[in-house]
């Protein structure tokens, strides 16, 4: 009995149940929605969100927030697309490496300001959010890079099918696998949890809190850079406003997945399920005939609902054993 109760109390179980209910509800009317091919398509559609959410999770775990991921994605995506247009013979692996490095550098800028200057992460990333997107405008002059200006190899990679799934899906699976190792099995992964859980205790155990935050921003930036290439290639177009406002979906995925905005609580499984939950809703909307204009309002409502549920769960269960008890009045 107690096993069932613990399972029910877990966010992952709750999310799975909600997703199943949603799936059954939609499938009852539209049977073609639940076919394996259609579900694989939902996963494919959500891959970039999953990759970004895993990076964001590291940042939120350390009690910070990274609002600049979508702008980083747009800037990096525009850069690799323009490079591909200018030098079509440049290897895709080189471009991907470049996207990773550039994203990492942009994330490191955020991280350095948070770490060395002790600036509030929200202000830093609100600022870099406009700066990075502005720089995408500066380098492109506001022009678009369209599909016919990209090399076939550049467009082919994410959608090439390997063992039944497109490469983009495999990259998301790889990111999930590596994240499980990173967050649960490495000192830096545990340091993310400790830093957000109780910074004072973390310092006493020998963790450099500032440096840990810096690493979290680097990870988030690096994954945003990779997503820049993936996004531009998947949608076969690069322009300044690519993924505008997508940072909100990324944060929503984390919050829905049970990552506490107060830091220290979260899991890879939860975050992935949170992203898939959003992906499932967004893919179900057109199927059941709801206008796409509902998307923004729904993500907003889901964020608020999720954070409300999180707050209740944290208050009652106390999964964060390191946090000092606050005086409740």
């Amino acid at each position: 009995m107690s096993l069932i109760r613990t399972l029910l109390a877990r966010r992952e179980t709750l999310l799975l149940c909600a997703m199943l209910a949603l799936l059954i509800g939609v499938t009852a009317r539209f049977p073609e929605f639940a076919t394996p091919a259609s579900l694989a398509n939902v996963f494919h559609d959500t891959s970039i969100l999953i990759i970004l959410a895993l990076g964001q999770m590291a940042v939120i775990l350390t009690k910070s927030i990274d609002l600049s991921v979508a702008a980083n994605l747009a800037f990096t995506g525009m850069t690799v697309a323009m490079l591909n247009h200018a030098f079509p013979d440049l290897s895709i692996l080189v471009l991907m490496g470049l996207a990773l490095t550039m994203g990492l550098a942009l994330g490191a800028i955020n991280g350095l300001m948070v770490w060395r200057l002790n600036m509030p992460p929200i202000v830093v990333t609100l600022g870099t959010l406009t700066i990075y997107r502005g720089l995408a405008f500066v380098e492109s002059g506001g022009a678009w890079v369209n599909a016919h200006e990209m090399s076939p190899a550049f467009l082919e990679l994410p959608r090439a099918v390997v063992a039944g799934l497109p490469v983009l899906s495999w990259l998301a699976i790889l990111a999930i696998g590596l994240s499980v190792l990173l967050f649960d099995r490495t000192p830096i992964g545990r340091a993310f949890f400790a830093t957000g859980g109780n910074a004072v205790a973390a310092v006493y155990t020998g963790i450099d809190v500032g440096r840990t935050r810096f690493y979290a921003f680097c990870l988030s930036g690096m994954l945003a850079g990779l997503s820049g290439y993936l996004w531009v290639s998947r949608y076969a177009v690069a322009y300044v406003d690519v993924a505008g406002g997508f940072e909100l979906n990324v944060i929503a995925a984390c919050v829905i997945g049970g990552v506490s905005i107060a830091g220290g609580i979260g899991s890879v499984a939860g975050t992935v399920l949170g992203a898939l939950f959003l992906g499932l809703i967004m893919n179900a909307l057109p199927v059941i005939g709801v206008s796409p204009f509902w998307q923004m309002a729904i993500s907003g409502a889901v964020i608020i609902a999720a954070v409300t549920i999180n707050a209740r769960a944290e208050r009652s269960v106390g999964r964060n054993i390191l946090r000092r008890k606050e005086i409740v009045l």
Binding site: T128, I131, I303
Partner: protein, 334 residues
């Protein structure tokens, strides 16, 4: 402890070991504003024309009204990122009501009412359910603007009554527009309330130490509730002015304004972690930002580039004092 004072003085600004220049942050801002003013008047012979200067104020008064209300919220240690979303929803609903042939009075009431309602929505979530305001308002930002998209889609509302245009385009006296005069009055009232009333002291007390404020008999949640209502109404006022000035509504109206309002607040010397700052600083910061964007506009700089400047300003304003403080500490030690 050389002497014991009868009542402990709580300074508006906590970071007193700063250099003298920073202690008079407002003076620094005024100097910057004057410098930009001179640069602009040298760059363009038309700049000093009273009507031109009056036009320049339209750039920032709506955002500045929000910034004044936001200043209260930030001093108390909270933030509202949904202000631009509130404008979008309020403007859309005003447009919807205008289509039914409603008069100007009704439209203004709708705008202010939507602002108040949205503010109350945020307030309930933050104070009753005790959720972090940053996540709540990130959520309500997309909820409010999302509802505007649901109502309006890719359409546009036009056809506002002719006398409705006065709020965004009318003049009270000579070159002084209604928008500008309203901003000055609201800023004056805001300054008096924050710095000269018990309520204002309570806001500072909450921002410095909410727990201590509670034990001193301050109704922390009630004060925060009022502050969210204030920001909501300020966004409603801005929505009335902006809709009246543009004469049309799209769901993408006022996109990114939350960033500019927060930048004004931070540039004005309000501590982003709460507890210190002044309305005067915010007002001067609004002028500084307005003059910069207007000056860049005269030089034909595109909007995206201006937003880079704003982003750099937001970061620089916080980073530069920290760097200077570090350098000063190094010099003292060395």
């Amino acid at each position: 402890m050389s002497e014991i004072t009868s009542a402990r003085h709580i300074p508006d600004r906590l970071d007193s070991p700063l250099s003298a220049a920073l202690r008079s942050w407002e003076l620094l801002l005024v100097l910057v504003a004057v410098a930009i003013f001179i640069a602009n008047s040298l760059a363009s012979p038309y700049f000093l024309d009273p009507w031109n200067l009056s036009d320049a104020t339209f750039n920032f008064t709506e955002k500045a009204i929000i910034a004044v209300a936001m200043a209260f919220l930030v001093v108390s240690g909270e933030i509202d990122l949904s202000v631009a979303g509130i404008i979008a929803l309020a403007s859309t609903l005003m447009g919807a009501v205008a289509q039914t042939g409603a008069g100007t009075g009704t439209l203004v009431l709708v705008g202010l009412g939507v602002g108040l309602g949205c503010g109350a929505f945020n307030a309930v979530l933050v104070t009753r359910l005790r959720l972090p305001s940053i996540v709540v308002t990130i959520g309500s930002m997309s909820l409010f603007r999302g509802l505007a998209y649901v109502i309006l889609g890719d359409q546009v509302y036009k056809g506002y009554p002719a006398d409705f245009a006065w709020f965004g385009q009318g003049y009270v006296w000579w070159v002084f527009s209604f928008e500008f005069v309203a901003f000055l009055i609201l800023a004056l009232v805001g300054g008096i309330v924050l710095h000269r009333t018990i309520f204002g002291r309570q806001v500072f007390a909450i921002g410095n130490n909410a727990l201590a404020a509670t034990f001193s008999g301050v109704h922390v949640e009630r004060v925060k509730f009022i502050l969210f209502l204030m920001t909501g109404v300020a966004s409603g006022i801005a929505a009335v002015m902006l809709t009246s000035r543009l004469g049309s509504t799209r769901p993408s109206i006022a996109q990114g304004w939350e960033l500019e309002a927060v930048t004004m607040v931070v540039l004005g010397g309000i501590n982003i972690n709460g507890g210190s700052g002044s309305i005067l600083g915010v007002v001067i910061a609004a002028f500084v930002m307005g003059l910069i964007t207007f000056g860049l506009g005269l030089l034909n700089v595109p909007g995206v580039i201006m937003s880079i400047f704003i982003g750099l300003m937001l970061i620089g304003v916080i980073a530069v004092p920290i760097v200077f403080r570090r350098l000063a500490a190094l010099r003292r030690r060395g």
